[in-house]
Symmetry: C2
Subunit: 247 residues, 2 copies
Protein backbone atom coordinates (compact mmCIF):
# COMPACT_ATOMS: atom_id res chain seq x y z
CA UNK A 1 0.00 0.00 0.00
CA UNK A 2 1.40 3.32 -1.05
CA UNK A 3 1.29 6.61 0.81
CA UNK A 4 3.00 7.66 3.96
CA UNK A 5 1.60 7.02 7.38
CA UNK A 6 -0.14 9.38 9.79
CA UNK A 7 -0.88 9.39 13.47
CA UNK A 8 -4.62 10.06 13.79
CA UNK A 9 -5.99 12.06 16.69
CA UNK A 10 -9.42 13.28 17.67
CA UNK A 11 -9.77 16.78 19.11
CA UNK A 12 -12.96 17.82 20.87
CA UNK A 13 -14.70 21.16 20.70
CA UNK A 14 -16.81 20.85 23.85
CA UNK A 15 -19.21 23.77 24.07
CA UNK A 16 -21.57 24.82 26.81
CA UNK A 17 -23.34 27.95 27.95
CA UNK A 18 -22.16 29.39 31.27
CA UNK A 19 -23.25 32.72 32.68
CA UNK A 20 -24.85 33.74 29.39
CA UNK A 21 -21.65 33.06 27.42
CA UNK A 22 -20.70 30.34 24.99
CA UNK A 23 -17.70 28.55 26.52
CA UNK A 24 -15.28 25.85 25.42
CA UNK A 25 -13.45 23.33 27.58
CA UNK A 26 -9.65 23.68 27.25
CA UNK A 27 -6.71 21.95 28.88
CA UNK A 28 -3.35 23.51 29.60
CA UNK A 29 -0.67 21.34 28.02
CA UNK A 30 2.09 20.08 30.26
CA UNK A 31 4.13 18.31 27.59
CA UNK A 32 5.84 19.43 24.45
CA UNK A 33 5.02 20.64 21.92
CA UNK A 34 3.23 23.82 22.98
CA UNK A 35 3.72 23.09 26.69
CA UNK A 36 1.90 25.75 28.69
CA UNK A 37 -0.50 26.61 25.89
CA UNK A 38 -4.21 25.97 26.12
CA UNK A 39 -5.51 23.33 23.74
CA UNK A 40 -8.64 21.43 22.84
CA UNK A 41 -8.90 18.10 24.67
CA UNK A 42 -7.88 15.27 22.39
CA UNK A 43 -6.16 11.97 22.02
CA UNK A 44 -5.09 9.35 19.55
CA UNK A 45 -7.37 6.80 17.97
CA UNK A 46 -6.77 3.36 19.50
CA UNK A 47 -6.32 0.23 17.37
CA UNK A 48 -9.89 -1.06 17.52
CA UNK A 49 -11.72 2.25 17.68
CA UNK A 50 -13.78 4.00 15.06
CA UNK A 51 -13.50 7.80 15.15
CA UNK A 52 -16.75 8.32 16.99
CA UNK A 53 -15.69 5.77 19.61
CA UNK A 54 -12.55 7.76 20.28
CA UNK A 55 -14.54 10.96 20.51
CA UNK A 56 -17.04 9.41 22.92
CA UNK A 57 -14.26 7.95 25.07
CA UNK A 58 -12.45 11.27 25.28
CA UNK A 59 -15.68 13.09 26.06
CA UNK A 60 -16.40 10.73 28.92
CA UNK A 61 -12.85 11.11 30.22
CA UNK A 62 -13.20 14.87 30.17
CA UNK A 63 -16.67 15.33 31.53
CA UNK A 64 -18.19 12.05 32.57
CA UNK A 65 -20.97 12.79 30.08
CA UNK A 66 -22.35 10.38 27.53
CA UNK A 67 -22.30 11.68 24.00
CA UNK A 68 -25.66 10.53 22.79
CA UNK A 69 -24.83 10.12 19.12
CA UNK A 70 -28.13 8.50 18.28
CA UNK A 71 -30.37 11.32 17.11
CA UNK A 72 -33.52 9.32 17.72
CA UNK A 73 -33.02 9.27 21.47
CA UNK A 74 -33.57 12.34 23.56
CA UNK A 75 -30.21 11.95 25.29
CA UNK A 76 -28.62 14.94 26.80
CA UNK A 77 -25.71 16.23 24.87
CA UNK A 78 -24.72 15.92 21.26
CA UNK A 79 -21.61 14.69 19.46
CA UNK A 80 -20.88 15.04 15.76
CA UNK A 81 -17.91 15.09 13.46
CA UNK A 82 -16.70 18.48 12.32
CA UNK A 83 -13.82 18.16 9.86
CA UNK A 84 -10.28 16.85 9.53
CA UNK A 85 -7.07 18.85 9.63
CA UNK A 86 -3.80 17.57 8.25
CA UNK A 87 -1.54 20.43 7.16
CA UNK A 88 1.97 18.97 6.77
CA UNK A 89 3.47 21.24 9.43
CA UNK A 90 0.63 21.35 11.93
CA UNK A 91 2.49 19.17 14.45
CA UNK A 92 6.28 19.36 14.79
CA UNK A 93 6.47 15.71 15.85
CA UNK A 94 5.48 14.48 12.41
CA UNK A 95 2.41 13.97 10.31
CA UNK A 96 -0.67 14.02 12.47
CA UNK A 97 -4.17 14.12 11.10
CA UNK A 98 -6.69 15.41 13.57
CA UNK A 99 -10.42 14.82 13.29
CA UNK A 100 -12.42 17.53 15.03
CA UNK A 101 -15.57 16.56 16.88
CA UNK A 102 -18.18 18.96 18.19
CA UNK A 103 -19.86 18.23 21.54
CA UNK A 104 -22.69 20.28 23.04
CA UNK A 105 -23.38 19.86 26.73
CA UNK A 106 -25.46 21.44 29.47
CA UNK A 107 -23.58 23.56 31.98
CA UNK A 108 -21.44 21.39 34.25
CA UNK A 109 -19.57 22.00 37.48
CA UNK A 110 -16.06 23.40 37.11
CA UNK A 111 -13.86 20.56 35.85
CA UNK A 112 -11.13 19.11 38.01
CA UNK A 113 -7.69 18.32 36.62
CA UNK A 114 -7.75 15.70 33.90
CA UNK A 115 -6.46 12.15 34.00
CA UNK A 116 -3.11 13.47 32.78
CA UNK A 117 -3.04 16.10 35.56
CA UNK A 118 -3.64 18.87 33.03
CA UNK A 119 -5.32 21.98 34.30
CA UNK A 120 -8.69 22.29 32.66
CA UNK A 121 -11.13 25.16 32.54
CA UNK A 122 -14.05 26.64 30.63
CA UNK A 123 -13.08 29.62 28.48
CA UNK A 124 -15.46 32.05 26.76
CA UNK A 125 -15.09 31.43 23.04
CA UNK A 126 -15.40 35.00 21.82
CA UNK A 127 -11.82 36.17 22.48
CA UNK A 128 -10.49 32.94 20.97
CA UNK A 129 -12.23 33.53 17.65
CA UNK A 130 -10.12 36.58 16.88
CA UNK A 131 -6.54 35.42 17.37
CA UNK A 132 -3.92 38.09 17.50
CA UNK A 133 -6.05 40.54 19.47
CA UNK A 134 -4.09 40.25 22.67
CA UNK A 135 -5.16 36.80 23.83
CA UNK A 136 -2.61 34.04 23.50
CA UNK A 137 -3.33 31.62 20.68
CA UNK A 138 -4.29 28.02 21.27
CA UNK A 139 -1.86 25.19 20.54
CA UNK A 140 -1.53 23.76 17.03
CA UNK A 141 -4.34 24.86 14.71
CA UNK A 142 -6.90 24.65 17.47
CA UNK A 143 -8.13 28.22 16.95
CA UNK A 144 -9.27 27.17 13.51
CA UNK A 145 -10.90 23.96 14.73
CA UNK A 146 -12.69 25.92 17.45
CA UNK A 147 -13.87 28.52 14.96
CA UNK A 148 -15.23 25.79 12.70
CA UNK A 149 -17.03 24.22 15.66
CA UNK A 150 -18.60 27.50 16.73
CA UNK A 151 -19.68 28.23 13.16
CA UNK A 152 -21.28 24.82 12.95
CA UNK A 153 -23.09 25.21 16.25
CA UNK A 154 -24.36 28.65 15.28
CA UNK A 155 -25.60 27.41 11.93
CA UNK A 156 -27.30 24.33 13.33
CA UNK A 157 -29.31 26.24 15.90
CA UNK A 158 -31.13 27.81 12.99
CA UNK A 159 -32.65 24.73 11.52
CA UNK A 160 -32.34 22.04 14.19
CA UNK A 161 -33.44 21.43 17.76
CA UNK A 162 -29.83 21.17 18.92
CA UNK A 163 -30.12 24.14 21.26
CA UNK A 164 -31.79 21.78 23.69
CA UNK A 165 -28.51 19.87 23.94
CA UNK A 166 -27.15 22.83 25.88
CA UNK A 167 -29.99 22.49 28.42
CA UNK A 168 -30.44 20.07 31.33
CA UNK A 169 -33.07 17.31 30.94
CA UNK A 170 -35.80 19.65 32.13
CA UNK A 171 -35.76 23.29 31.21
CA UNK A 172 -37.93 26.32 30.60
CA UNK A 173 -38.50 28.29 27.43
CA UNK A 174 -36.38 31.07 28.91
CA UNK A 175 -33.50 28.66 29.49
CA UNK A 176 -33.68 27.73 25.83
CA UNK A 177 -33.84 31.34 24.74
CA UNK A 178 -30.74 32.16 26.77
CA UNK A 179 -28.90 29.46 24.81
CA UNK A 180 -29.79 31.09 21.50
CA UNK A 181 -28.85 34.51 22.82
CA UNK A 182 -25.49 33.32 24.13
CA UNK A 183 -24.53 31.35 21.03
CA UNK A 184 -25.66 33.99 18.54
CA UNK A 185 -24.80 37.00 20.71
CA UNK A 186 -28.15 38.56 19.94
CA UNK A 187 -31.26 39.51 21.84
CA UNK A 188 -34.47 37.68 21.04
CA UNK A 189 -37.98 38.84 21.81
CA UNK A 190 -39.19 36.53 24.63
CA UNK A 191 -42.83 36.60 23.54
CA UNK A 192 -42.26 35.68 19.91
CA UNK A 193 -39.65 33.09 20.89
CA UNK A 194 -42.13 31.47 23.25
CA UNK A 195 -44.77 31.14 20.57
CA UNK A 196 -42.30 29.95 18.00
CA UNK A 197 -40.67 27.11 19.92
CA UNK A 198 -43.83 25.88 21.60
CA UNK A 199 -45.60 25.66 18.27
CA UNK A 200 -42.98 23.40 16.63
CA UNK A 201 -44.42 19.91 16.68
CA UNK A 202 -42.38 17.51 18.82
CA UNK A 203 -39.74 20.00 19.97
CA UNK A 204 -40.79 20.71 23.55
CA UNK A 205 -42.84 18.27 25.60
CA UNK A 206 -44.54 19.91 28.60
CA UNK A 207 -44.04 18.26 31.98
CA UNK A 208 -46.41 18.36 34.93
CA UNK A 209 -44.24 20.69 36.97
CA UNK A 210 -43.66 24.41 37.07
CA UNK A 211 -40.55 26.31 38.09
CA UNK A 212 -41.12 28.62 40.97
CA UNK A 213 -38.67 30.44 43.19
CA UNK A 214 -37.55 33.16 40.82
CA UNK A 215 -39.25 36.48 40.45
CA UNK A 216 -42.39 36.60 38.38
CA UNK A 217 -44.90 34.07 37.20
CA UNK A 218 -43.80 30.41 37.41
CA UNK A 219 -42.67 28.87 34.13
CA UNK A 220 -43.66 25.61 32.56
CA UNK A 221 -40.94 22.95 32.58
CA UNK A 222 -40.32 21.10 29.33
CA UNK A 223 -38.20 18.19 28.16
CA UNK A 224 -36.90 17.51 24.65
CA UNK A 225 -39.25 15.97 22.18
CA UNK A 226 -38.37 13.75 19.23
CA UNK A 227 -38.15 16.53 16.64
CA UNK A 228 -34.69 17.17 15.23
CA UNK A 229 -35.31 19.82 12.60
CA UNK A 230 -37.13 23.14 12.69
CA UNK A 231 -39.52 24.00 9.87
CA UNK A 232 -39.48 26.84 9.29
CA UNK A 233 -36.06 27.64 10.78
CA UNK A 234 -35.26 30.13 13.51
CA UNK A 235 -33.87 33.12 11.68
CA UNK A 236 -31.04 35.16 13.02
CA UNK A 237 -30.42 38.46 11.34
CA UNK A 238 -27.85 37.81 8.66
CA UNK A 239 -25.73 40.64 7.40
CA UNK A 240 -26.09 41.00 3.67
CA UNK A 241 -26.21 38.35 1.00
CA UNK A 242 -22.50 37.69 0.59
CA UNK A 243 -20.62 35.93 3.31
CA UNK A 244 -17.26 34.21 2.96
CA UNK A 245 -18.18 31.50 5.47
CA UNK A 246 -17.97 28.22 3.61
CA UNK A 247 -20.21 26.37 6.05
Amino acid sequence: MRGNLFAVAVDLVILTVRRAELCVLLGQRNVTPHAGSWALPGGFVLPHEDLVDTAARLLTEQTGAEGGTDPTTADDGHLEQLASYAAPDRDPRGRVLSVGYLALLPDLPEPAAGPDAERRAWHPVQPLLHPGSGDPALAFDHNRILADGVDRARAKLEYSTLAASFCPPQFTVTDLRRVYEAVWRTEIDPRNFQRKVTSVDGFLLPTATMVTGGRGRPAQLFRRGPATTLHPPMLRETSGSTRAADR
Copy 2:
Protein backbone atom coordinates in the same frame (compact mmCIF):
# COMPACT_ATOMS: atom_id res chain seq x y z
CA MET B 1 4.15 9.57 20.05
CA ARG B 2 1.49 7.08 20.99
CA GLY B 3 -1.28 5.75 18.82
CA ASN B 4 -1.09 3.44 15.87
CA LEU B 5 -0.53 4.63 12.36
CA PHE B 6 -2.96 5.04 9.48
CA ALA B 7 -2.71 5.35 5.75
CA VAL B 8 -4.69 8.44 4.80
CA ALA B 9 -6.62 8.60 1.55
CA VAL B 10 -8.89 11.15 -0.06
CA ASP B 11 -12.00 9.93 -1.87
CA LEU B 12 -13.90 12.25 -4.19
CA VAL B 13 -17.64 12.51 -4.62
CA ILE B 14 -17.68 14.25 -8.01
CA LEU B 15 -21.23 15.24 -8.88
CA THR B 16 -22.67 16.69 -12.04
CA VAL B 17 -26.05 16.94 -13.74
CA ARG B 18 -26.41 14.98 -16.94
CA ARG B 19 -29.64 14.52 -18.85
CA ALA B 20 -31.67 15.91 -15.94
CA GLU B 21 -30.14 13.44 -13.46
CA LEU B 22 -27.66 13.89 -10.66
CA CYS B 23 -24.65 11.73 -11.54
CA VAL B 24 -21.42 10.70 -9.83
CA LEU B 25 -18.09 9.82 -11.42
CA LEU B 26 -17.01 6.27 -10.57
CA GLY B 27 -14.06 4.12 -11.53
CA GLN B 28 -14.08 0.36 -11.90
CA ARG B 29 -11.33 -1.06 -9.73
CA ASN B 30 -8.77 -3.31 -11.38
CA VAL B 31 -6.78 -4.21 -8.27
CA THR B 32 -7.64 -5.90 -5.03
CA PRO B 33 -9.43 -5.38 -2.79
CA HIS B 34 -12.85 -5.12 -4.42
CA ALA B 35 -11.43 -5.62 -7.94
CA GLY B 36 -14.23 -5.21 -10.45
CA SER B 37 -16.37 -3.10 -8.13
CA TRP B 38 -17.18 0.51 -8.85
CA ALA B 39 -15.63 2.98 -6.44
CA LEU B 40 -15.24 6.69 -5.85
CA PRO B 41 -12.03 8.07 -7.35
CA GLY B 42 -9.40 8.48 -4.68
CA GLY B 43 -5.79 8.26 -3.71
CA PHE B 44 -3.36 8.58 -0.87
CA VAL B 45 -2.14 11.84 0.60
CA LEU B 46 1.45 12.51 -0.48
CA PRO B 47 4.15 13.55 2.00
CA HIS B 48 3.97 17.30 1.44
CA GLU B 49 0.29 17.65 0.69
CA ASP B 50 -2.48 19.10 2.77
CA LEU B 51 -5.82 17.32 2.34
CA VAL B 52 -7.27 19.89 -0.01
CA ASP B 53 -4.14 19.67 -2.17
CA THR B 54 -4.65 15.96 -2.55
CA ALA B 55 -8.30 16.47 -3.39
CA ALA B 56 -7.48 19.13 -5.99
CA ARG B 57 -4.76 16.96 -7.53
CA LEU B 58 -7.06 13.96 -7.80
CA LEU B 59 -9.83 16.11 -9.24
CA THR B 60 -7.54 17.41 -11.94
CA GLU B 61 -6.34 13.89 -12.70
CA GLN B 62 -9.90 12.72 -13.10
CA THR B 63 -11.44 15.58 -15.00
CA GLY B 64 -8.89 18.20 -15.87
CA ALA B 65 -11.01 20.67 -13.94
CA GLU B 66 -9.71 23.11 -11.41
CA GLY B 67 -11.44 22.91 -8.08
CA GLY B 68 -11.79 26.55 -7.22
CA THR B 69 -11.68 26.36 -3.45
CA ASP B 70 -11.58 30.11 -2.95
CA PRO B 71 -15.19 31.17 -2.45
CA THR B 72 -14.44 34.77 -3.36
CA THR B 73 -13.66 33.94 -6.96
CA ALA B 74 -16.34 32.95 -9.40
CA ASP B 75 -14.45 29.88 -10.52
CA ASP B 76 -16.33 27.10 -12.10
CA GLY B 77 -16.73 24.12 -9.90
CA HIS B 78 -16.59 23.68 -6.16
CA LEU B 79 -14.57 21.52 -3.82
CA GLU B 80 -15.17 21.09 -0.10
CA GLN B 81 -14.41 18.59 2.61
CA LEU B 82 -17.20 16.23 3.56
CA ALA B 83 -16.19 14.00 6.47
CA SER B 84 -13.70 11.32 7.46
CA TYR B 85 -14.27 7.60 7.64
CA ALA B 86 -12.06 5.26 9.63
CA ALA B 87 -13.96 2.17 10.75
CA PRO B 88 -11.34 -0.41 11.80
CA ASP B 89 -12.45 -2.96 9.20
CA ARG B 90 -13.27 -0.67 6.30
CA ASP B 91 -10.18 -1.75 4.33
CA PRO B 92 -8.85 -5.31 4.53
CA ARG B 93 -5.29 -4.11 3.88
CA GLY B 94 -5.06 -2.39 7.25
CA ARG B 95 -6.09 0.82 8.89
CA VAL B 96 -6.99 3.40 6.29
CA LEU B 97 -8.63 6.69 7.10
CA SER B 98 -10.42 8.23 4.16
CA VAL B 99 -11.33 11.88 3.93
CA GLY B 100 -14.30 12.46 1.66
CA TYR B 101 -14.35 15.54 -0.55
CA LEU B 102 -17.33 16.82 -2.47
CA ALA B 103 -16.81 18.31 -5.94
CA LEU B 104 -19.54 19.91 -8.03
CA LEU B 105 -18.88 20.35 -11.74
CA PRO B 106 -20.69 21.32 -14.91
CA ASP B 107 -21.52 18.53 -17.29
CA LEU B 108 -18.40 17.20 -19.01
CA PRO B 109 -17.75 14.92 -21.94
CA GLU B 110 -17.71 11.22 -21.18
CA PRO B 111 -14.46 10.47 -19.33
CA ALA B 112 -11.76 8.35 -20.88
CA ALA B 113 -9.94 5.68 -18.92
CA GLY B 114 -8.00 7.05 -16.00
CA PRO B 115 -4.24 7.27 -15.50
CA ASP B 116 -4.35 3.80 -13.96
CA ALA B 117 -6.31 2.46 -16.94
CA GLU B 118 -9.44 2.15 -14.85
CA ARG B 119 -12.72 2.30 -16.66
CA ARG B 120 -14.53 5.41 -15.58
CA ALA B 121 -18.12 6.50 -16.11
CA TRP B 122 -20.87 8.76 -14.83
CA HIS B 123 -23.54 6.90 -12.87
CA PRO B 124 -26.93 8.27 -11.78
CA VAL B 125 -26.78 8.53 -8.01
CA GLN B 126 -30.34 7.53 -7.20
CA PRO B 127 -29.95 3.74 -7.43
CA LEU B 128 -26.72 3.96 -5.43
CA LEU B 129 -28.42 5.64 -2.49
CA HIS B 130 -30.50 2.58 -1.72
CA PRO B 131 -27.99 -0.27 -1.55
CA GLY B 132 -29.40 -3.74 -1.54
CA SER B 133 -32.14 -2.99 -4.04
CA GLY B 134 -30.66 -5.00 -6.87
CA ASP B 135 -27.75 -2.77 -7.80
CA PRO B 136 -24.29 -3.93 -6.82
CA ALA B 137 -22.80 -2.02 -3.93
CA LEU B 138 -19.80 0.24 -4.31
CA ALA B 139 -16.40 -0.76 -2.94
CA PHE B 140 -15.49 -0.17 0.72
CA ASP B 141 -17.93 2.21 2.46
CA HIS B 142 -18.32 4.35 -0.63
CA ASN B 143 -22.10 4.08 -0.65
CA ARG B 144 -22.11 5.90 2.67
CA ILE B 145 -19.63 8.54 1.53
CA LEU B 146 -21.67 9.12 -1.60
CA ALA B 147 -24.87 9.40 0.43
CA ASP B 148 -23.25 11.96 2.70
CA GLY B 149 -22.08 13.93 -0.31
CA VAL B 150 -25.49 13.94 -1.94
CA ASP B 151 -27.12 14.98 1.34
CA ARG B 152 -24.66 17.83 1.64
CA ALA B 153 -25.20 19.01 -1.92
CA ARG B 154 -28.97 18.87 -1.50
CA ALA B 155 -28.83 20.83 1.72
CA LYS B 156 -26.47 23.48 0.40
CA LEU B 157 -28.59 24.27 -2.63
CA GLU B 158 -31.16 25.59 -0.19
CA TYR B 159 -29.15 28.38 1.33
CA SER B 160 -26.17 28.89 -0.99
CA THR B 161 -25.50 29.78 -4.59
CA LEU B 162 -23.72 26.47 -5.17
CA ALA B 163 -26.17 25.32 -7.79
CA ALA B 164 -24.30 27.56 -10.22
CA SER B 165 -21.25 25.30 -9.78
CA PHE B 166 -23.14 22.69 -11.78
CA CYS B 167 -23.52 25.14 -14.66
CA PRO B 168 -21.06 26.24 -17.34
CA PRO B 169 -19.60 29.75 -17.08
CA GLN B 170 -22.60 31.22 -18.86
CA PHE B 171 -26.05 29.81 -18.32
CA THR B 172 -29.74 30.64 -18.36
CA VAL B 173 -32.23 30.67 -15.53
CA THR B 174 -33.72 27.51 -16.94
CA ASP B 175 -30.33 25.78 -16.84
CA LEU B 176 -30.12 26.68 -13.18
CA ARG B 177 -33.63 25.50 -12.49
CA ARG B 178 -32.90 22.14 -14.10
CA VAL B 179 -30.02 21.74 -11.63
CA TYR B 180 -32.36 22.22 -8.67
CA GLU B 181 -34.91 19.88 -10.17
CA ALA B 182 -32.33 17.17 -10.83
CA VAL B 183 -30.64 17.37 -7.44
CA TRP B 184 -33.85 17.59 -5.43
CA ARG B 185 -35.94 15.40 -7.74
CA THR B 186 -38.76 17.92 -7.63
CA GLU B 187 -40.54 20.19 -10.07
CA ILE B 188 -40.22 23.91 -9.58
CA ASP B 189 -42.51 26.56 -11.01
CA PRO B 190 -40.44 28.30 -13.71
CA ARG B 191 -42.04 31.71 -13.20
CA ASN B 192 -41.54 31.92 -9.46
CA PHE B 193 -38.05 30.47 -9.75
CA GLN B 194 -37.13 33.13 -12.27
CA ARG B 195 -38.25 35.95 -10.02
CA LYS B 196 -36.60 34.42 -6.98
CA VAL B 197 -33.10 33.88 -8.34
CA THR B 198 -32.93 37.09 -10.36
CA SER B 199 -33.92 39.12 -7.31
CA VAL B 200 -31.10 37.79 -5.09
CA ASP B 201 -28.48 40.50 -5.03
CA GLY B 202 -25.17 39.40 -6.56
CA PHE B 203 -26.28 35.89 -7.54
CA LEU B 204 -26.78 36.20 -11.30
CA LEU B 205 -25.02 38.83 -13.38
CA PRO B 206 -26.71 39.42 -16.76
CA THR B 207 -24.50 39.30 -19.82
CA ALA B 208 -25.05 41.13 -23.06
CA THR B 209 -26.01 38.02 -24.98
CA MET B 210 -29.18 36.02 -25.40
CA VAL B 211 -29.56 32.33 -26.13
CA THR B 212 -31.43 31.68 -29.30
CA GLY B 213 -31.82 28.51 -31.30
CA GLY B 214 -34.20 26.62 -29.05
CA ARG B 215 -37.91 26.88 -29.31
CA GLY B 216 -39.59 29.90 -27.77
CA ARG B 217 -38.42 33.29 -26.72
CA PRO B 218 -34.63 33.73 -26.38
CA ALA B 219 -33.33 33.58 -22.83
CA GLN B 220 -30.98 35.94 -21.05
CA LEU B 221 -27.50 34.55 -20.42
CA PHE B 222 -26.06 35.02 -16.94
CA ARG B 223 -22.79 34.36 -15.20
CA ARG B 224 -22.19 33.79 -11.48
CA GLY B 225 -22.07 36.80 -9.24
CA PRO B 226 -20.15 37.19 -5.99
CA ALA B 227 -23.00 36.15 -3.69
CA THR B 228 -22.47 32.88 -1.84
CA THR B 229 -25.53 32.65 0.38
CA LEU B 230 -29.23 32.95 -0.31
CA HIS B 231 -31.35 35.07 2.00
CA PRO B 232 -34.04 33.99 2.27
CA PRO B 233 -33.24 30.40 1.27
CA MET B 234 -34.78 28.38 -1.53
CA LEU B 235 -37.26 26.11 0.18
CA ARG B 236 -37.82 22.58 -0.90
CA GLU B 237 -40.85 20.85 0.53
CA THR B 238 -39.69 19.04 3.61
CA SER B 239 -41.58 16.06 4.89
CA GLY B 240 -42.66 16.67 8.44
CA SER B 241 -40.72 18.09 11.33
CA THR B 242 -38.77 15.00 12.39
CA ARG B 243 -35.99 13.69 10.21
CA ALA B 244 -33.23 11.36 11.27
CA ALA B 245 -30.74 12.96 8.89
CA ASP B 246 -27.92 14.32 11.00
CA ARG B 247 -26.81 16.91 8.49
